[in-house]
Amino acid sequence: MSVQTQLTKGKISLKGSARIVTEFFNFGINSILFQRGIYPVEDFEVKKKYGLDIWVSNDISVTQYLKKIMDSVEEWLALGMINKLVLAVNSRETRETIERWQFDITVTDESKGEEKQPQPQAKSEKALQMEIQAIFRQIAASVSFLPIIDEKCTFNILVYADSDAEVPTTWTDSDPLHVKNAEQVRLRSFSTDAHRVEAMVAYRRDPDLC
């Protein structure tokens, strides 16, 4: 199924949008894993996407892990049951969350929102790509202000779902895993016709700098 044909038809359906957003998450998470050094650099390879070169993990275990997550996420997105996706970077030794990337998802589908005005222009693929590009560039640029991560880390993906969402056994409840003494930086957002994704990163405030 091609998202493109759906696009040319005018506007994206919720499902197509879900696919786009999930893809974005997949590449975004890979990119963050690379930039922050969660996995060593040689485990990554370059893929072209959104008109950019994005570093994607070529480690089988990581890709499979992410695939399982993304499958569920896509389902929830299609149903509109998910409203946040969080990537929490935890230190392996202290088990503390040192960084937290949060993506807020709002559904802008007009079938759900009655108060919406007449549908905004169907978004061209180009414009969408530019927006996503901007976020990736920001993620890469965020290295400049994010504190250096010296320790070995692992990550957790959290999903803020509706309470009536269907949760497979592979998911459990969890803490929000907020960062203590956090500095927050809001990043750019993008929106397909059906979803709007906003990005934000929270990191530990450096005690020396304050």
């Binding site: 399982k68 309470s163 009536d164």
Partner: protein
């Protein structure tokens, strides 16, 4: 019991909310379990689902709880600390599930909104842990204290306080005015010990006695030709002998001086000899009538004499505290400098700036003056603190090394033109009388009246040439023969070929 929750029962997900409650017991789940879903708090208890649920060993079933409650059989360690009234109250109502109260829900919703927590969301995390990578992150490895640029490490050359090698020099005459040490291009070190001249081959370590004087005569100076084939030996009788180093035979003797020949300097085929009577004779060693010129301008013994590498100028220093610069074609000094207040033995032309001359004064003076011989101006001065006995410029670095006598008997390394002292090397126990530079420019040899000959690796090369690192004391000669004219010092111009080519070479 599956984890599917199909009802929209319960459900605050936030731990904060449980703290907002006012129930005494924290663990609401145990007291007020909901029969339907294990681990999901009921509405009445404003319970907490803010914990990772391992789903093992859930709360006791209601039936079990009932019996316990009625029996009051729990172990209470400290009665006085127990709030008996409220605990009894809680236990008493343990079996009655709290009904869904509309007002309670509304209350909770407002509280939730106030806390910024939405009521009907749950945070889910993927159970499986992310795969770990055991590999060392190379980025961390390489981003650690990096900046180990080769440039910085190589410029940090080590100058040891200890000599590379020490040789015995018995019988060295303790006379400031003599010049008894010279190092040839062929890596041979000539030293005059009392009545003999010894040749030490730095490559092989062999020692040969070249000549032996008769009677009361002693060796007063030695000087190699620029290419290291012939050695000029000056005696206390006033003779200058030319020896062939390879065959170890005397080629000729040039006599005529009235007093000892304390210093000599070669300029291709011309040998200048400085005498105790203050005269400097130029000899053409190829012809029988060797004396070509006599330069008289010193009132005291000539103890410093050195031709510039291009052979245009001759610098001489004497016991009369004068520094004279002679043009090769005249017998009258071009100019004279009187700044020194003691005998000037140390003279050295700079290898990279042709008109730069450094002169060092004796024990009363202790200064090193730098002269521009074109403009005759004094460029700089250093007060070294000790009697200056010799100066050597480095070919590779913008530095010079001075050897000293009274009172410290040390070697000092200076950078030029900043004239900052780089290092002091305590060299000898007595005055460092003579200093010679190796042909590769990396080491200097010093001789003192404590009868030792020491080698110091001061100008370790930066390693750009193929033969770097191995000095001449132990190893290979790195100079090429057939170098340009003149020897302004033992180092010679040929050493430049082994060194960094990017450095400015001799300005011709």
């Amino acid at each position: 019991m599956s984890d599917y929750s199909t009802k929209s029962a319960a459900g605050t997900h936030a731990a904060h909310l449980s703290k907002a409650s006012s129930k005494p017991f924290k663990d609401e789940r145990h007291v007020n379990p909901s029969p339907r879903t294990m681990g999901r708090p009921s509405i009445g208890g404003s319970g907490e689902s803010g914990v990772l649920a391992p789903r093992k060993g859930g709360p006791p079933s209601p039936r079990q709880k009932k019996t316990k409650a009625s029996q009051y059989d729990r172990f209470i360690p400290n009665r006085t600390a127990m709030d008996m009234a409220s605990s009894q109250f809680n236990i008493a109502r343990s079996d009655a599930p709290q009904p869904l109260d509309g007002s309670t829900i509304a209350y909770q919703e407002t509280v939730a909104n106030a806390c910024g927590v939405s009521m009907n969301k749950r945070i889910l995390t993927f159970k499986e842990e992310a795969p770990t990578s055991e590999k060392e992150d190379l980025r961390q490895v390489y981003s650690r204290p990096a900046l180990k640029a080769t440039a910085s490490t190589s410029t940090k050359r080590r100058i040891l306080n200890t000599p590379e090698r020490v040789l015995d020099a018995p019988g060295l005459v303790d006379d400031y005015y003599l010049n008894l040490l010279d190092w040839s291009l062929g890596n041979m070190l000539a030293i005059g010990l009392d009545q003999s001249v010894y040749l030490w081959d730095a490559t092989s370590g062999d020692v040969n006695s070249l000549c032996q004087l008769e009677g009361d005569a002693y060796i007063s100076s030695v000087k190699w030709t620029a290419d290291g084939t012939y050695l000029a030996v000056g005696t206390s009788e006033g003779d200058v002998q030319i020896w062939d180093a390879e065959t170890q035979s005397k080629i000729r003797t040039m006599s005529g001086h009235q007093a000892r020949v304390g210093v000599m300097s070669w300029e291709t085929h011309t040998l200048s000899s400085g005498c105790r009577d203050g005269s400097i004779w130029n000899h053409d060693v190829r012809v029988a009538n060797h004396k070509t010129a006599e330069l008289v301008a010193h009132g005291g013994e000539v103890c410093g004499l050195t031709w510039r590498s291009d052979g245009a100028l001759l610098a001489s220093g004497g016991n009369d505290n004068l520094v004279n610069i002679w043009d090769a074609r005249t017998t009258v000094p071009k100019f004279s400098k009187t700044q020194h207040t003691a005998a000037v033995k140390a003279l050295a032309w700079s290898p990279w700036q042709l008109n730069l001359l450094a002169s060092g004064g004796g024990s009363y003076d202790r200064h090193v003056h730098f002269w521009n011989t074109t403009t005759t101006a004094r460029l700089n001065s250093i007060d070294t603190g000790s009697q200056v006995t010799s100066i050597q410029w480095s070919n590779e670095y913008r530095e010079l090394v001075t050897s000293h006598g009274f009172p410290y008997n040390h070697l000092a390394l200076w950078s030029y033109p900043s004239l900052t002292k780089i290092v002091d090397i305590p060299a000898h126990d007595t005055r460092v009388l003579h200093m010679a530079m190796s042909p590769d420019g990396q080491s200097v040899a010093t001789a003192a009246s404590d009868e030792s000959l020491k080698f110091w690796r001061i100008f370790e090369t930066r390693g750009k040439s193929a033969r770097s690192g191995k000095g001449d004391v132990a190893g290979i000669v790195s100079a090429s023969a057939g170098s340009s004219a003149g020897a302004s010092g033992p180092g010679g111009s040929a050493a430049a070929s082994a060194l960094d080519i990017s450095r400015p070479s001799y300005i011709r």
